[in-house]
């Protein structure tokens, strides 16, 4: 089973990197951009076959280490290989 974890800055936190990329895209002629946010993707390959245990484990990992709840939101998907 593979977990794909998406971590991004909360909406209330300014993302200067996203803003810079937005400007760059606009200078390339892409005019229809409302907002650009940049985040991280973490892929974890699990030995576990049980979806429920995996979900609990990944959620714990996010809370403990992978995301900082003060500034970041996360969500994840579990996929069969």
């Amino acid at each position: 089973m593979i977990a794909e974890i998406y971590i991004s800055l909360k909406k209330s936190i300014s993302d200067p990197q996203g803003l810079t990329v937005k400007h760059a895209l606009e200078s390339l002629g892409y005019k229809g951009l409302a907002d650009v946010r940049i985040g991280k993707l973490v892929k974890i390959k699990l030995n576990s076959k049980d979806k429920k245990t995996a979900e609990e484990e990944i959620d714990g990992m996010c809370k403990k280490l992978l995301a900082n709840p003060i500034i970041e939101d996360y969500y994840f998907k579990l996929k069969e290989e």
């Binding site: 936190i13 200067p16 990197q17 280490l65 900082n68 003060i70 500034i71």
Partner: protein, 234 residues
């Protein structure tokens, strides 16, 4: 009194701190490796600057789980004195020993230059040799020094006089124009509520000798020495 400088993989200001304490302030100091689990009779712990664990994931996020951090948390709870400088500050934030978090500098640049900071509070063990409002010239060198805390947290910091240093002009004007990284309220350094832990982005160890252009940082180390040595003899 005895200092310890904690060394994480990727710390790079550890030797500067060690040198200033040993050769300039003439106090005993030892290194503590991040895998050590005891502090052994130390009075003040310095978490130095650098790039612990390559700044992977988030600055300080991995270092906070180093084995030594359990001992440091215990030391903090007992009121032990801790100074986190730059990456050390980031580690203390990730560990929850200080409130708030660091974001990337608003200009997205790594900034390495001398800045001016104002001492907002001289009633701490780390700043008792400064005057209130004294302007200090101390260098910064960081990519993630954009201190963030929500409005409620900021109010608490202010109400408890935990904001110790703020970025300012040479004349002491605290204004967003003199804010190098976008930090909330120009914050450059804070303490915890109890006042035994200081985190600051500027590097006092790089401004503790006249030949380095400023001795303003020296008085942080000297303050803590005076405070601890006087307390012990009282």
């Amino acid at each position: 009194m005895k200092f310890a400088v904690v060394v994480f993989p990727g710390s790079n200001c550890d030797q500067d701190c060690f040198y200033i304490i040993k050769d300039v302030l003439k106090r005993p100091v030892k290194y503590i490796w991040h895998k050590d689990t005891a502090l052994d009779g130390v009075d003040c712990v310095v978490l130095p600057g650098g790039f612990s664990y390559g700044d992977y994931l988030r600055t300080g996020a991995i270092a906070r789980f180093s084995p030594v951090m359990n001992a440091i948390t215990g030391f903090a709870k007992k009121g032990g004195s801790i100074i986190g400088i730059c990456n050390g500050f980031q580690i203390l934030l990730e560990a929850g020993l200080l409130p708030g978090v660091m974001l990337r500098n608003r200009g997205l640049h790594f900034i390495c230059k001398p800045v001016y900071i104002k001492a907002d509070n001289n009633q701490t063990r780390f700043t008792n040799l400064y005057n209130i409002g004294q302007v200090l010239k101390i260098p910064i060198a960081h990519n993630e020094g954009n201190y963030y805390i929500d409005a409620k947290g900021l109010k608490e910091l202010k109400d408890n006089h935990q904001v110790v240093f703020r970025y300012c002009s040479a004349a002491g004007d605290v204004n967003d124009r003199y804010n190098p990284n976008g930090a909330v309220d120009n914050i450059a350094g804070i303490t915890n509520k109890k006042g035994n832990i200081l985190g600051m982005m500027p590097h006092p160890e790089r401004s503790s000798e006249i030949k380095l252009g400023s001795t303003d940082g020296y008085f942080i180390f000297k303050s803590i020495i005076d405070w601890l040595e006087n307390k012990k003899t009282c």
